[in-house]
Amino acid sequence: MSGKSELIISKIRNGVVIDHIPAGRALLVLRLLGISGRDGFRVALVMNVESRKLGTKDIVKIEGRELTKDELNLVALVAPTATVNMIRDYEVVSKFKVTMPNVIEGLLKCKNPKCITNQQREPVKSRFRLVSREPLKLVCDYCGTMHELSDIEKSLGLV
């Protein structure tokens, strides 16, 4: 984290700091993690700050919400450059770069209206397999429809 952003938001005690989010995508990251702001967690958000690596970046700090590594790896869908710092008692206890999971279950909606996963009355969760990281391509495991970044953003209600 750069010194300048330290000036803007204070340290958190317990939680996660998601750093190196591509500029302008912090809100998408929160949306992806299901954090609406109405759930009571303390959230700090910094957008468009200077970054040595990225030029400009966003940072999100979430206090009090337990997030698993699997949940955090989903951030890679919209912020593949993101790094995660897990904080306990103001100290960074672990740090990792998000990696796109090979299988994503339940989170996204297939864009094919004729896909079985879009049927309301069937007990079925969507399932996508990662085909390519760059450019991002996911394929619906049920109907084989290819999804690109724009489809995924649409599916998450991000655009």
Binding site: N112, K114, C115, I116, T117, Q119, R121, E122, P123, V124, V139, C140, D141, Y142, C143, G144, T145, M146
Partner: protein
């Protein structure tokens, strides 16, 4: 070493779940079954096959039914949902659970894509996909491959043209996937509007398949060993005039096949409307009825492999 046991109890959802060695086992068994296709081989006498046809079918349904009966097994099922509880609003999952309790294997055709895979996840018995949406029709592709293998003794090295609706015909998707296990030259022939989907193009690229696309069958006819024809559906065209124009340009007739190799083989999954002229039926090149006939021994082989019944 792939053998009989590798097929036992397996779901047949997509040809991509299988490989070239699996196909070889299947073809050998289908060849063996040809001699029983008009008689009977009592090996599945204790088995019941459920045919769950949520969408219309003639050949696929009847050839599965015939195959099961020729193997001494029994068949239950439905065609269309009017007379079933689905008409009362029962969902697919519950219908599959019920069939799973009654039968030893389930053959399913459904209009929704991924329905067969979903059913396979629910049922403990093997599920065989007899066509779902516009994605997969694996047993048709296996039949197509078997017919080619029977005609040429090999598949490697052949030049294969696929003509018609390359975008929405599920048999095209499955056939191209199945051919990816062989070294073939593919010529894709269709109107611009019905070019193959991006997914299929990317698939061919990823498998390093040799293929090209043309909108004119006359450009490639003299290079083909096999011409595989699929229907061009009227409902795909917003403008009926455009459909009429295209329909004529893609008609397989004597004039077209005269330009082809003398040993050209013309295949069609059927039903044929008028994309292959009736005058072609009597030429030595026409093998589509023979292809349909192989549907019984091929599906006998599939059922025997999946359900057991000895080797």
């Amino acid at each position: 070493m792939v053998g009989f046991l590798d097929w036992f109890g397996r779901d047949i959802i997509s040809v991509l779940d299988f490989g070239r060695e699996d196909f070889e086992v299947l073809f050998t068994e289908a060849l063996n079954m040809e001699k029983y296709a008009k008689s009977r081989l009592d090996v599945l006498g204790d088995k019941v096959l459920a045919l769950a046809f949520f969408e219309p079918s003639t050949r696929t349904r009847l050839s599965f039914e015939t195959a099961m009966l020729r193997l001494g097994g029994s068949v239950i099922g439905f065609s269309g949902t009017e007379a079933t509880s689905m008409a009362k609003g029962e969902n697919l999952a519950d219908t599959i659970r019920m069939l799973d309790a009654y039968a030893n294997a389930i053959v399913i055709r459904h209009s929704l894509e991924g329905a067969a895979k979903f059913a396979a996840g629910i049922a403990e018995s093997p599920v065989i996909n007899a066509g779902d949406g516009s994605q997969n029709h694996p047993t048709q592709a296996m039949l197509d491959l078997y017919t080619i293998w029977r005609e040429f003794k090999v598949i490697d090295g052949l030049s294969i043209g696929i003509l018609g609706d390359l975008r929405y015909a599920r048999v095209v998707n499955s056939l191209v996937q199945a051919l990816s296990y062989y070294r073939v030259r593919l010529h894709l022939i269709s109107p611009e509007l019905l070019r193959p989907r991006q997914e299929l193009v990317e698939f061919m690229e990823s498998r390093g398949m040799k293929y090209d696309w043309t909108n004119d069958p006359y450009n490639v006819i003299n290079d083909l060993d096999v011409l595989y024809v699929v229907r061009i559906q009227r409902e795909r065209f917003p403008d009926p005039m455009e459909y009429e124009r295209i329909r004529g340009a893609y008609k397989v007739n004597l004039k077209l096949i005269e330009r082809g190799k003398p040993n050209l083989v013309i295949l069609h999954p059927l039903p044929r409307i008028d994309e292959v002229d009736f005058t072609v039926d009597n030429t030595p090149q026409a093998r589509y009825f023979k292809q349909a006939g192989f549907g019984v021994p091929l599906r006998m082989a599939l059922l025997r492999l999946v359900l057991g019944g000895g080797s």
